[in-house]
Symmetry: C2
Subunit: 230 residues, 2 copies
C-alpha cells in the first residue's frame, strides 16, 4: 500500500531558507519516505528569481531564450525549448504564477544537486533512509494537459530497470525501464488540494529496493542523438 499526503503550513519561501528544516518542521518523516518538492520553492530558496515586467512580452521571450540551449518549436507566445539542464518544455520552464508581481522564477540550475543537498540534510538530521524528488509541471507532445515530472532526484531510483525480469508466463520482459521518479512526481500531484500552496508531498510505502543513488540527468534525460522527434 502506498500513501501520499501534503504537509500543511509551509509558508512563502525566500532566498537562503533551509528547505530540509522547513520540511522537517511540517511533518513526521519515516524510514523510506520519498519527499517531493516543487522546483518553485527550490528555486526561491536558491535565489533563482529575476526581476521582470510581467507585461513585457519581449523581455519574457529574452529570458526564455537565455535559459535555453535551443528552440525546438514556436507557436504564438508558446516557445518549446531545450533548457540548459536538458529538459524539453514550454518557455524554458519559467512560470510567472505564484511569484511576486515583477519577478520570474527560473528552474533550479541543477535539480539533481538540489535534491541531493536536501536529501543529505534530511537524512543526516533525521537518521532516516529517505528519497527526494524535485518536481515540475510539463506538457506532453501527443497528449493535452500537463502532468508533474521529476526534474531531479536523490536517494531514490529515477528508472526502475526490470530488463531481464520474467513475465507471468516465464518469458523475459522487454521495454521495461520504468520512469519511477516521474510516476512519483505525478502521483504527488494527486495529494495536492486544487487551491495550491502545497509544495511538498510525502510518498510512503515504496519498496526499499528502489532507494538508491540516482540522477534524472543521467537516467531520464534523453540524449538528442537518440531522439526521434527533436
Amino acid at each position: 500500500m502506498i500513501s501520499l499526503f501534503a504537509p500543511q503550513g509551509i509558508g512563502e519561501i525566500h532566498k537562503g531558507d533551509n528547505l530540509a528544516d522547513i520540511i522537517m518542521a511540517s511533518c513526521e518523516l519515516r524510514d523510506y519516505d520519498v519527499v517531493t518538492v516543487t522546483s518553485k520553492i527550490v528555486s526561491k530558496a536558491e535565489g533563482r528569481v529575476v526581476a521582470i515586467d510581467h507585461h513585457d512580452e519581449k523581455a519574457f521571450e529574452t529570458l526564455i531564450l537565455s535559459e535555453a540551449r535551443r528552440v525546438l518549436r514556436r507557436r504564438g507566445s508558446l516557445i518549446i525549448t531545450e533548457t540548459h539542464q536538458g529538459y524539453v518544455c514550454a518557455n524554458s520552464g519559467i512560470d510567472l504564477s505564484n511569484v511576486d508581481e515583477g519577478y520570474a522564477v527560473l528552474l533550479p540550475s541543477n535539480p539533481d544537486l538540489s535534491a541531493r543537498r536536501i536529501q543529505k540534510q534530511l537524512s543526516n538530521k533525521t537518521g532516516l533512509k529517505l528519497g527526494v524528488v524535485i518536481t515540475d509541471t510539463f506538457g506532453r507532445t501527443w497528449r493535452k494537459g500537463v502532468t508533474d515530472v521529476a526534474l531531479g532526484c536523490a536517494g531514490i531510483a529515477a528508472i526502475l530497470d526490470l530488463r531481464g525480469t520474467k513475465d507471468s508466463k516465464g518469458r523475459v520482459l522487454v521495454a521495461t525501464e520504468i520512469a519511477i521518479a516521474d510516476e512519483i512526481a505525478a502521483a504527488a500531484e494527486l495529494a495536492k488540494p486544487k487551491a495550491g500552496g502545497t509544495p511538498v508531498v510525502i510518498v510512503r510505502g515504496l519498496d526499499e529496493e528502489v532507494f538508491r543513488r540516482s540522477s534524472i540527468a543521467k537516467e531520464i534525460i534523453r540524449d538528442p542523438s537518440e531522439d526521434l522527434f527533436r
Copy 2:
C-alpha cells in the same frame, strides 16, 4: 491523503470474463474509489487477442501497421504509430509479454467505452460512486523510461481544469489543465509489485469534485492539427 493498493488474486483473464465481478470479488470498494485496470486484461476479456508467431518479425510489423492510422517514425524494429484510437505510441501498443506464446494482445478498440462499461457495472452492483481508468505503459518523446497513462476513463475527470483559478498571489493561473487521469495511471503503477500480475489498483481519497463524466478521447488526445511535433 491518497492511498493506493493492488488487490491480489486476480487470475488469468479470458474472453468473456466479467471484469466488474472479478474486481468486486478481489477487494472491498468504497465511495469515490478509482479503479485502474490495465488495458491488457480489458483486451483479453474483450477478445482483442490474435494469433501470431512471436518470432516472425514481418508478421508483427504487419499487425502493428493494421492497428495504425499512420506511421510517425521508425528506428530499427521500433515503429512509432498513431493508432486508430488516436494514441501515439510504440508498435501500436501491441505487446507480446504476459500473453500465451503464439498470441498478441491488441489495445481495446474503444477504451473509454470499456471504462464506461466496467464503471457502470461496478456502480450498479455496489451502489457506489466510482471512477474507472484503463491504463497502459507508454514511452515519452523527450524522456527515457516508460510511465503508465490513461487510455480510457469513466466517472472520473480526464482533465482537471483550473483555468480561472487564482494563484496564492491572487492572480489568475494560466496553463493549468491537469491531466489527472494520466496522473492516476502513473500513481497506480507505484502500488504494483515489481513481479507484475497485479492488473488492478484502487486509488482512494481523491476529491469528490473530480468524479464526473469524461473521456480520454475527447479531453486528452491532441488533435494532429494542434500538434507541434507530428
